[in-house]
Symmetry: C2
Subunit: 253 residues, 2 copies
Amino acid sequence: MGRVISVSNQKGGVGKTTTTVNLSAFLAEKGRRVLIIDIDPQANAGYGLGINVEDADNTLYEVLIGQVDIRQAIYKTGIDNLFIIPSNIHLSGAQMDLLDIEGREFVLKKAIAPIRDDFDFIFIDCPPSLGVLTLNSLVAADSVMIPLQCEYYALEGLSQLLRIISMVQESLNRTLKIEGVVLTMFDSRTNLSQQVVSDVRDFFKDRVFKSIVPRNVRLSEAPSFGKPIGVYDRHCVGSERYESLAEEVLNNG
Amino acid sequence: MGRVISVSNQKGGVGKTTTTVNLSAFLAEKGRRVLIIDIDPQANAGYGLGINVEDADNTLYEVLIGQVDIRQAIYKTGIDNLFIIPSNIHLSGAQMDLLDIEGREFVLKKAIAPIRDDFDFIFIDCPPSLGVLTLNSLVAADSVMIPLQCEYYALEGLSQLLRIISMVQESLNRTLKIEGVVLTMFDSRTNLSQQVVSDVRDFFKDRVFKSIVPRNVRLSEAPSFGKPIGVYDRHCVGSERYESLAEEVLNNG
Ligand SMILES: Nc1ncnc2c1ncn2[C@@H]1O[C@H](COP(=O)(O)OP(=O)(O)OP(=O)(O)O)[C@@H](O)[C@H]1O
Ligand SMILES: Nc1ncnc2c1ncn2[C@@H]1O[C@H](COP(=O)(O)OP(=O)(O)OP(=O)(O)O)[C@@H](O)[C@H]1O
Ligand SMILES: [Mg+2]
Ligand SMILES: [Mg+2]
């Protein structure tokens, strides 16, 4: 039975795509069948895995508007056991289309129902907003993973995200849990990072993953080669932390 | 005659708010009357200037739905000559409301018409998306400033933004110019940063500001004290670069 995990945070640039791509790749390497669904019109998850998004005939957009069956939009990546449904820019227009549909928050949930059990994990990479696309992801998911940059603005935005999550838990998806908070871009030299970590641990208690991802330039280089970090530079600290995060996710199972 | 500048880029976390707050503060210090309009529901620009956004009775939301006159939503900041119209979370709901209005892209333009000439500069801090809020900002603006993080994903997203800008120039706002690209979070130790800078200079030629903002932890600390960088740590490299950017913007005038 596949676990559907929404990777969400409306604050921009906190590491949603980096976490989705690298965590998925390590889980695939450990033998799990993993699908990434990119619901962000920026389509970064596809780029980060070397998929030429412009050339993809069928993307999530075509699936959500009912033009193709979801299986036709599943593409192989260069990694065994790792598959992706890419996004494209038309998805940002879909937000307007979706608004007029009855049950607009359930479109993704319905679309992925036929393939849920074909994968051990399905990760949904969200855009930096709390609009109808992120809402669809939270409704379709079993749990939500929150990448959180160790910086001031990112911490401020957390309460907005938690409010939306509890709104979804009350009505649209009563079984939605919080998978956990992943602390990203931690810089041990600054007080700010230490402060954010201790604030987040106070608030979330044991729902903060032990693996903290430090700021590591290799993580920002890897996507320009279309490779996850485990393939690009297996022995850097960014790779070690995402691998240990994969082990934590498996142990939570 | 006030210059209205939209600070936009749908890629998240590239330095839109950091550029808006610090550039505005230096222009105010140099004697210009400056207004920041925050059209991002995250309301980060207000937090970064120490404004308690929750307590603000009138924000841009109340202005856009026509509940208050725009002058009632202008707040002083701790900096002479610098004023702000803060945002709040209700603005993300406004996106749905705005969609049903005739001429929804012109709502902000109409709202700011009565005060345009009260300021030398009006900067609009945009959210990380290309939805109706960013569209309103591009229609209301004389020019658009594009903060661009020196990283791979940010570079990939540039073509989407330019397509939207030229779409706006063809119909909704024929006089919209590109004020320039501000390169942010430059890390001189990495090839990636150097590569991004040379790619962007090739493409944009002289519309890239000479002042490049390096990655500088003081810039991420300043907002947690509610201060712009010139007040928080005047002699750090982040402060020097935003000050020289302010001089370039004045020379472009
Ligand atoms: N731990 C890290 N160390 C250094 N750079 C990182 C790290 N994690 C992510 N990055 C880089 O920071 C930038 C932002 O990360 P990413 O794009 O994954 O965030 P995001 O939350 O998906 O952004 P968006 O909100 O635009 O979707 C990217 O250029 C990425 O390569
Ligand atoms: N030059 C810099 N050096 C170091 N940190 C920076 C720099 N510029 C911005 N930051 C930090 O990086 C994070 C992202 O910047 P900022 O919030 O200004 O980007 P943004 O584009 O406004 O994000 P969003 O897309 O969420 O609106 C913030 O925590 C900020 O403090
Ligand atoms: Mg992303
Ligand atoms: Mg911002």
